[in-house]
């Protein structure tokens, strides 16, 4: 039956699939396996987890919706897309929150567990019947299926086993390579032993047969990307946090010092599992401050370290980041952004830490801030961050977010090289004539003595200091120190190129974004451009310093606006000088002295191309009215 494409299968360019369940029913494992099989077959894939905010939400509650979305296509996929085309649900209640989020459209096919219609509790039977009516009224194409009953033939614990059954159903529906899927199951459960593997493969086979018998009309083919597109390259499949972990190793760093915080921690989980292979160590510190302090200590001693955290952790690390700026200690700080302020939305995405990353310190604390826009960039930018940190003797903050952290996508496997690694520890003698901050006045750069270097002895301090690292409170020394630290950003900025515009270099509207919204913004822009609108987009990777030439690019458009996932006042409510803007918009206004508009929301969701499309249409309409 492997690769047995059923005659009459519907050919599709892309499809969006969801599996939604109570927490702990294995939907995510099934979805990740399905996504991996699709990626291995050469499809473009993006998977994103649907995560309940609580660890053990009550069963059958709308707020407890847990699961996964898989978008598979014949093209590269860069975001989660809009409404799902097909959804498998283990109960009807969890669908309500997805419907409220606009996850489905009229015609979305719903494969729903139907055991609830015979539940011993009358209120559950009632809820189920009512929901089915509502779903049908909303235009969902409902298929009620006895999934658990069918699983019971193969397992006495269908709650644990039905995810592999569903994987079988999906692989049948989408005509996946079934042998590849069985091998993937073996890989997933390899630590649990042969018995568990066989049991899960049996459930998988039963799921295939079940779909063939009960829903034969649901039969699709999404052809893989073309050979030319794939280019004979090898691909990695990982989420953004794993990519950060790979980047740490590929940068040749030896130490990650962290404190558990959602959604950053899984990067450290991954490293804890594999880092020792490349001679590295994950230090779980007693708190966020100790985590960065430990990293700074290692960096000072010549082993540039990395600390990985999220918003509240950044807040706690602020004083230490200031120290690293002041004393010019190379350091890589990864901020996997989540909703804020305070504890905020721990599991949800936001781009709310941009201004905190740039300005969240007392005094003038210039540092380099990068933002990864793709999962692949999560890997490469860690390598870049380590190099920049050492070359410019500066802390580098890499911003990613919960969307990148949990999204899974295939991307080209890098051809790693020892050139990417940190150079071996320099223990040669230091020239005693050279002070520890031998600033080049033009660039602010200076070589750095490392403990162990003879005659390099100096006392690093967070106090204002001279080039000899001597504490100095005088006017000239403090002014000079600030100048030199600032000049490093100027000299780094001089090495950057203007960013590429997506679309025409001039037009009516330019959308500016940063971070994980790249895929959704460009997909939306492509849709409006296909309708003949003069809209382009620009995506910034360097936030401090910014890429050059922005003003010149902006001036070629009638209107420039940012689209971001952070808070801004609705201009219909608060306009003019009192309107508080999205974070990049503030920066761009200050940077270019131009009128920069913005649109942003803090729904805790990744942005979807459909919503951005609507926003663009709205702004274009305003533009026409005002013309």
């Amino acid at each position: 039956m492997a690769n047995g494409e059923t005659a009459g299968a519907v050919q599709l360019r892309e499809h969006i699939v969801e599996i939604v369940s109570d927490s702990g029913e294995g939907a995510q494992k099934a979805g990740q396996t399905f996504g991996t099989v699709c990626a291995k077959m050469g499809n473009g894939v993006w998977t994103v987890e649907i995560i309940p905010a609580e660890i053990q939400p009550p069963a059958r509650s709308p707020a407890g919706a847990s699961g996964i979305r898989i978008r598979l296509a014949t093209n590269v996929v860069t975001n989660m897309g809009d409404e799902a085309d097909l959804v498998v649900a283990f109960n009807e209640q969890v669908l309500y929150s997805r419907i409220a989020n606009g996850a489905y459209r009229e015609g979305t096919k719903l494969l729903l567990e139907k055991k609830w219609q015979e539940d011993p509790q009358p209120e559950i039977r009632e809820q189920y019947a009512k929901a089915i009516e509502e779903f049908k009224t909303n235009g969902l194409e409902v298929h009620e299926l006895a999934i658990e009953k069918a699983c019971l033939i193969h397992t006495n614990n269908p709650r644990r086993g039905k995810n592999m059954f569903v994987l079988g159903m999906l692989c049948r529906i989408y005509n996946r390579d079934l042998n590849m899927a069985r091998a993937e199951i073996a890989n997933t459960f390899k630590r649990k032993g042969e018995k568990i593997i066989t049991a899960n493969q049996k459930l998988f086979d039963a799921g295939c047969a079940f779909a063939e018998e009960h829903i034969p009309e649901l039969c699709y083919v999404v052809p893989p990307r073309s050979e030319a597109d794939l280019g004979g390259r090898k691909f990695l499949v990982s989420n953004g946090n794993q990519a950060v972990g790979l980047g740490v190793m590929a940068a040749g760093m030896e130490l990650v010092s962290m404190y558990p915080i959602t959604p950053a921690t899984s990067a450290s989980h991954y490293l804890a599992d594999v880092f020792h292979n490349t001679g590295g160590f994950v230090h779980q510190a007693e708190d966020e401050i100790a985590a960065i302090g430990f990293a700074i200590g290692a960096s000072f001693a010549g082993k540039t370290a990395c600390t990985i955290t999220s918003g509240p952790g950044i807040a706690l690390k602020t004083e230490m980041i200031g120290l690293a700026v002041m004393a010019e200690i190379p350091l890589v700080i990864v901020d996997v952004q989540r909703g804020g302020p305070s504890t905020g939305l721990p599991t949800k995405v936001e781009q709310g830490d941009l201004l905190a990353a740039l300005y969240g310190a007392t005094g003038d604390a210039p540092k380099i801030v990068l933002a990864a826009a793709t999962i692949e960039e999560c890997l490469h930018y860690v390598i870049l961050a380590r190099r920049l940190a050492e070359a410019f003797r500066i802390p580098v903050i890499l911003l990613t977010d919960a969307n990148l952290a949990t999204g899974v996508q295939p991307y080209p496997r890098p051809d790693v090289s020892t050139q990417w690694f940190a150079p071996p520890l320099d223990q040669s003698d230091w020239d005693p004539e050279i002070p520890p901050y031998h600033w080049d006045v033009n660039t602010g750069l200076s070589p750095r003595p490392i403990p162990g270097m003879r005659d390099g002895n100096y006392i690093l301090t967070g106090l204002a200091h001279t080039k000899y690292s001597k504490v100095a409170y005088d006017a000239d020394s403090n002014q000079r120190g600030c100048e030199m630290r600032s000049r490093k950003l100027t000299s780094f900025a001089a090495t950057l190129k203007p960013p590429q515009v997506h679309g025409d270099p001039e037009g009516d509207l330019l959308i500016v974004g940063w971070g994980s919204t790249l895929g959704a913004i460009e997909e939306a822009v492509d849709r409006v451009r296909a309708q003949g609108q003069k809209v382009s987009s620009l995506h910034l990777r360097f936030l401090s310093p910014m890429e050059p030439g922005l003003k010149a690019i902006f001036e070629r458009f009638r209107k420039v606006m940012t689209i971001e996932i952070n808070y801004s006042d609705d201009p219909k409510v608060t306009s003019g000088e009192t309107r508080r803007l999205a974070q990049l918009a503030w920066l761009l206004r200050a940077h270019t002295c131009m009128e920069i508009d913005c649109w942003s929301v803090v729904y805790g969701h990744p942005l979807q191309p459909g919503l951005i499309h609507k926003v663009i249409d709205g702004r274009l309409a305003n533009l026409t009215e005002n013309a």
Binding site: V274, A298, V416, I459
Partner: protein
């Protein structure tokens, strides 16, 4: 080149370090401050042990005593208030060969840095941690510290401190994996020297609390201690600190105390009737965190690359 100088003499035998090699900037502590004597003891010990200045790192937090690295001719890291210990642990994590000294105070270690104090003891990384305890915040001018005695009048408690002071010894001795706890007073330099020497030779975190004079903001408290030797209890033992007559004469109250006996150390620390001096506890066999944190340091770039490619293989489709 190859360790040889141009005149073909082997350089390694040429280096002999004198006290001058450990001299840094001129100490700016107040006259009569206990820190001066401790600094001298450290410099003397480094000279006696012939530790290369370039492989020594003095880490400190913020406070009067945290200025100490500036006055030493070694590498130094004058960090943030309360944060000397995590920084020092980080230094040691991937450079275990470095000789790490931490200078911290009662406010720095027992108040703002209290969390790190507990964890540094537990990690037991090989370093000497000196707590300069003068029972007052000096740098910020006379605020109550965690070890200020109840009733002490300070700028934050002008009518007297409200609560009983912390007992850093009982806390430290209660932490899992504690391996070395000593207490001395700055006005007995031979004992300070012996404590630092034993601490330096111990592999693990050596916690040395130095009860110390602040002649400017805490003089009455210290004067009272200095004038009454009966307030102290000198711990003696073969495995404790060597004490000569200049020590025994100053502290007539003495107790034979085996520093390998943890419950006995708890008793000594808990006994409020006398301030113990000497080595309270020593366990030379407690595991050190750097034995874990420094794994893989010897890997060549080529081996790392091969390992990395194998890791990438597991995610490759």
């Amino acid at each position: 080149m190859f360790g040889l100088k141009a005149d073909w003499s082997l350089e390694v035998f040429e280096r002999y370090f004198t006290l001058g090699d450990y001299a840094g900037g001129e100490a700016r502590w107040c006259p009569g401050c206990g820190d001066h004597g401790v600094l001298t003891a450290i410099q003397k010990l480094l000279r006696d042990e012939q530790v290369a200045p370039e492989s020594t790192v003095a880490v400190s937090g913020i406070g009067c005593s945290s200025r100490l690295p500036h006055y030493l001719g070694t590498y130094g890291f004058h960090s943030l208030h309360g944060r000397a210990l995590p920084v020092a642990c980080g230094v040691k994590s991937r450079r275990p060969e470095l000789d790490v000294w931490v200078a911290t105070g009662d406010g720095d270690c027992f108040s703002i840095g209290a969390g790190h104090w507990i964890y540094a003891i537990r990690y037991n990384m090989d370093m000497v941690v000196m707590i300069f305890d003068n029972a007052i915040y000096g740098l910020t001018k006379a605020q109550t510290s965690p070890t200020s005695p109840k009733g002490m009048k300070t700028n934050t408690h002008p009518f007297g401190a409200f609560v009983e002071p912390h007992n850093p010894l009982t806390v430290t001795l209660g932490i899992t994996n504690v391996s070395f706890v000593a207490q001395v007073v700055d006005w007995n330099p031979p004992l300070v020297y012996e404590a630092l020497k034993a601490a330096h030779r111990h592999k693990g975190t050596s916690f040395v609390r130095i009860i110390q004079r602040c002649p400017v903001y805490a003089e009455p408290y210290i004067k009272e201690l200095q004038s009454d030797p009966n307030r102290f209890l000198l711990l003696t033992h073969d495995q404790g600190l060597p004490v000569n007559t200049s020590v025994t004469r100053q502290f007539p109250n003495q107790l034979v105390h085996n520093p390998r006996d943890l419950p006995a150390a708890w008793n000594v620390a808990h006994d409020n009737s006398a301030i113990p001096l000497g080595l309270l506890y020593h366990n030379p066999d407690a595991p050190c965190y750097e034995d874990s944190s420094s794994i893989g340091m010897d890997m060549t770039p080529e081996t790392r690359l091969q390992a990395l490619n194998r890791v990438l293989d597991t995610l490759t489709i």
